[in-house]
Symmetry: C2
Subunit: 332 residues, 2 copies
Amino acid sequence: MADVAKLAGVSAMTVSRALRQDGSVSDRTRARVLEVIDEVGYVPDQAAGALSSGRSGLVAVIMPTFTVPPFAQIARGLHDTLSAEGLELFMSFSDYSPEREEQVLRAVLRRRPEALAIVGVDHTDRATKLLEAAGIPVIECLERAGQGVDHVVAIDQAAAGQAAVRHLASRGRRRVAVAASRQDPDAGEADRIAGVTTAARELGLDQPIVIRHGSPLAPLDQGLRAAGEALDRHPDVDALVCMNDYAAVGVVGELRRRGRSAPADLAVVGFGDSDISRHVEPAITTIGFNPVLVGVEMGKMVLSTRAAARLGRTLPSYRLNIDFQLIVRESA
Amino acid sequence: MADVAKLAGVSAMTVSRALRQDGSVSDRTRARVLEVIDEVGYVPDQAAGALSSGRSGLVAVIMPTFTVPPFAQIARGLHDTLSAEGLELFMSFSDYSPEREEQVLRAVLRRRPEALAIVGVDHTDRATKLLEAAGIPVIECLERAGQGVDHVVAIDQAAAGQAAVRHLASRGRRRVAVAASRQDPDAGEADRIAGVTTAARELGLDQPIVIRHGSPLAPLDQGLRAAGEALDRHPDVDALVCMNDYAAVGVVGELRRRGRSAPADLAVVGFGDSDISRHVEPAITTIGFNPVLVGVEMGKMVLSTRAAARLGRTLPSYRLNIDFQLIVRESA
DNA sequence: GTGAAAGCGCTAACAC
DNA sequence: GTGTTAGCGCTTTCAC
């Protein structure tokens, strides 16, 4: 930057201002500075800027994984909302593990993000402490009805599970199973399962069976194995509620492979209304919500807390519930 | 950090060293320092560290999108390989646009990454200049046979297109179409199309038709529309080569919806061997390669150039071709 | 509208 | 094994 300043015949300070559309540089000076910058190929060092200004320009995102499309879509919504304001995303995986989440949280805080967007894992106690101590807005996307650390975009999983069961009951299904992942359920799973169980009891259905198989990182495979177990070991089960649409696709695939079909032999309900659910046969009945929208809403929360902070205020913790609706297709 | 130093009764330098497993701190001192750190909840500021040491600990990743699973899987492979060495990923989208890529490249270089991993877009001239001027290793994943800026992990798309056509010809197909995206084809698409055309000519087939529809960001939809056009306007087409498995899933879905089927009415070939291709009906015949492996190989290249740089050497540009194989399933 | 001085929080380099 | 000094490349603050 010193080089640029010298070549343009101004001070470093003026270069810095010219770079930031700071009103207080004359158009002529700014033009000259930008010209020199372009000539010498100068690229400012944001680490230096961040250190000096205290603003990193970063929003940290922590998600279980990016390889499952709905998560990537949330990131996409966040990205589109925040990049308009010059904020960049710093993304990390937690792999559905609270311990790993704590670890990446530590790493992330070293980068001094201006806000934190976290999706879908319960926090360890130490992680919660870190979050509180960080002194930055924390926006969580929680898949449960419970309390978050600060601001929350919530998907009411229990209600979603209940909606699925009500629909299944109305179609005459009596014995519902839930296809969950093998590892300890995260909060979202637990809540959805609770919703299914509650609804089944209220409607006088048989007690739901929970089938645990595979990793949430490989949902298609998880669905395939759950379908196998349901058919082999629980022949009376007539409906299967899955944790996402990809798992549901795995289920209907396995049914077909075994000469069975949905919904004739087993009604199948997915979650998320991923585009895949419309394109397979049978099309998947699912709980629809828009993951991009979830990201956008999280992004808006980041921006509003930031705007408030600029005015020296703190926004009270805010909670937004994302609507979902049952989308009835062919599989149930 | 000064606080920690004072409380532990040592200098800031010792705290810094204790934090980095730098051998040169006695175990007793390090233990005391770490204890204080834990007590006061100190989190080092990596921007300051980066500024001072010249090492940002960042590897920048630029991809067309993360919402298409194979890209997310490449990122995953990169992540797993690099995090073992303490490097973190800074990810950005280019949306398949060279202009946007140049823009995010600028933004990314401000963060002073130690290496750059770029997937699948042609660069603008200015972007190429920026890359060369950056003075850091650039690892590209190119979907073409051409030259990259520096190190390259290549997927030989032309050969893949040829393999697909040879298979189709061996099954008696004569008139092949390619389902591409609406926008200007990126290099990978162009090469695959060229491969298809070349193979068709060599094998004495009819001249392939290129059907352009939709965005590569929504491959299922793109496939659906391509199938519609093939059926409506090119009834003699008996095989459709798609740019990825999701597009192929869209194609078979549309066929079914119209009372047609693959491969009876139209043979369909995908690309990428995504897990979805095994789980739909008919299962998708596809060109298999492992995106996670692509990421791992890119990560290894980053590490080896880094290791070389530590020894004061520069690695000559290296090129790795990722194997692919035709995986014959039901759709063709 | 522009410049000068000071300092953000670390680490390299060298001294002890 | 530990401390001291200097400085990374910006931005803040205040002066003009």
